[in-house]
């Protein structure tokens, strides 16, 4: 059986990241009408983001949700009690070793290529430096009697890039992009904590 060393694994990861960037750059834009349509994966996303709780106390559920978000380092930025809505955010560093290694690798390659060509231009790729992680949560009743509530939470992040250099042109810092967080583990952790906080079992849908 073939095994990969950590170094070759890192190189593979860097190569995959570069390939992914190239693919994303070529992707055709999604049409607006497709954005307001249900997709085959909508059900799976909903299942990951939602749990049911057998309780009549919606205030306790919402307040416990806010407490769990606080425990996870979030600040609550919006709330609307009658609709069971909460939005929270936290700021963190977004630096990753993979990106830093790629940045150095590309810079060295550009210096070598430019030296061979007789020039002196260098390419310094901007890397992710800062991120803002957001959580949008809604607790709503799922039966008319109000005996069961559903909690649906969605995590996403905003990432800011550092400055860079492309030949003689300086790339300003602060370019921004957004990403949905679809790591099931993050959602499981959140619901496990919420379940403990309200002393209730969280049921998957």
């Amino acid at each position: 059986m073939r095994t990969t060393t950590p170094r070759s694994e890192e190189l593979l990861r860097v190569g995959a990241a570069l390939l992914a960037c190239a693919v994303v750059a070529c992707v055709a834009p999604t049409k607006p009408e497709e954005l307001l349509q249900l997709h085959p994966e909508s059900g799976a996303h909903k299942a990951m983001q939602t749990r049911h709780f057998e309780t009549r106390d919606d205030v306790e559920l919402l307040s416990a949700s806010a407490a769990v978000l606080q425990d996870l380092g979030f600040q609550v930025v919006e709330s609307e009690r009658p609709l069971g809505f909460l939005r929270a955010a936290k700021e963190r560093s977004a630096r990753e070793y993979g990106q830093e290694i790629t940045r150095v690798f590309v810079a060295l390659l550009s210096v070598a290529a430019s030296a061979l060509g007789g020039g002196n231009s260098v390419v310094i790729m901007p890397v992710d430096v800062h991120q803002q992680i957001h959580a949008s949560l809604v607790a709503s009743p799922i039966d008319e009697a109000g005996d069961r509530f559903e909690v649906r939470v969605l995590f996403y992040r905003l990432v800011w890039k550092s400055d860079g250099q492309s030949g003689n042109e300086y790339v300003e810092p602060g370019e921004q992009r957004m990403e949905m967080i679809r790591d099931a583990g993050i959602y499981q952790t959140f619901f496990a904590r919420l379940s403990k906080a309200v002393f209730l079992e969280a049921h998957k849908i």
Partner: protein
């Protein structure tokens, strides 16, 4: 003492320049008047549903938007207002924003209006709104599980 030619000419020039300014065109006076396109757009964006309770209608709107992958950014129960956004995955640089208002209209009815913008430009395609209302109908009237 006679006035200098400059002083005499100046008011004349101002008067002439004033006379040359055209009257406001029909287009300018209609800037804030509703156009036929706007009325059509409003009809695409609005639909009446048989729901008596506004909070229930708003919960339906929120659930529909969440099912469509939107992030709920703001919700105000007393104003009947929901604001949400989503990225045009896999291109995270394109963003669609939606504002939905829920207003009671007569006995047991709610008027729901959605305004969508795509990369800050208003969405005028009726198909977009038809898709949204189809999901909303499902969320309001068919079991949510």
């Amino acid at each position: 003492m006679k006035p200098t030619p400059k002083i005499v000419l100046l008011p004349l020039l101002v008067a002439l320049a004033g006379a040359c300014v055209s009257r406001p065109t029909q287009e300018e006076t209609d800037l804030l008047a509703p156009t036929e396109e706007q009325m059509k757009l409003r009809s695409f964006q609005s639909r009446t549903f048989d729901v008596a309770d506004r909070t229930q209608a708003m919960r339906g709107v929120i659930a529909a938007l969440q099912d469509l992958g939107f992030i709920i950014e703001r919700a105000n129960d007393s104003l009947g207002l929901v604001t949400a956004a989503r990225f045009a995955e896999p291109r995270y640089y394109d963003v669609m924003g939606v504002t939905v208002t829920v207003r009671p209209q007569g006995e047991g009815k709610m008027l729901i209006r959605a305004n969508a913008i795509y990369n800050n430009a208003p969405v005028t395609d009726p198909k977009v709104y038809q898709n949204f209302f189809a999901t909303l109908e499902r969320s309001l009237f068919i079991g949510r599980n």
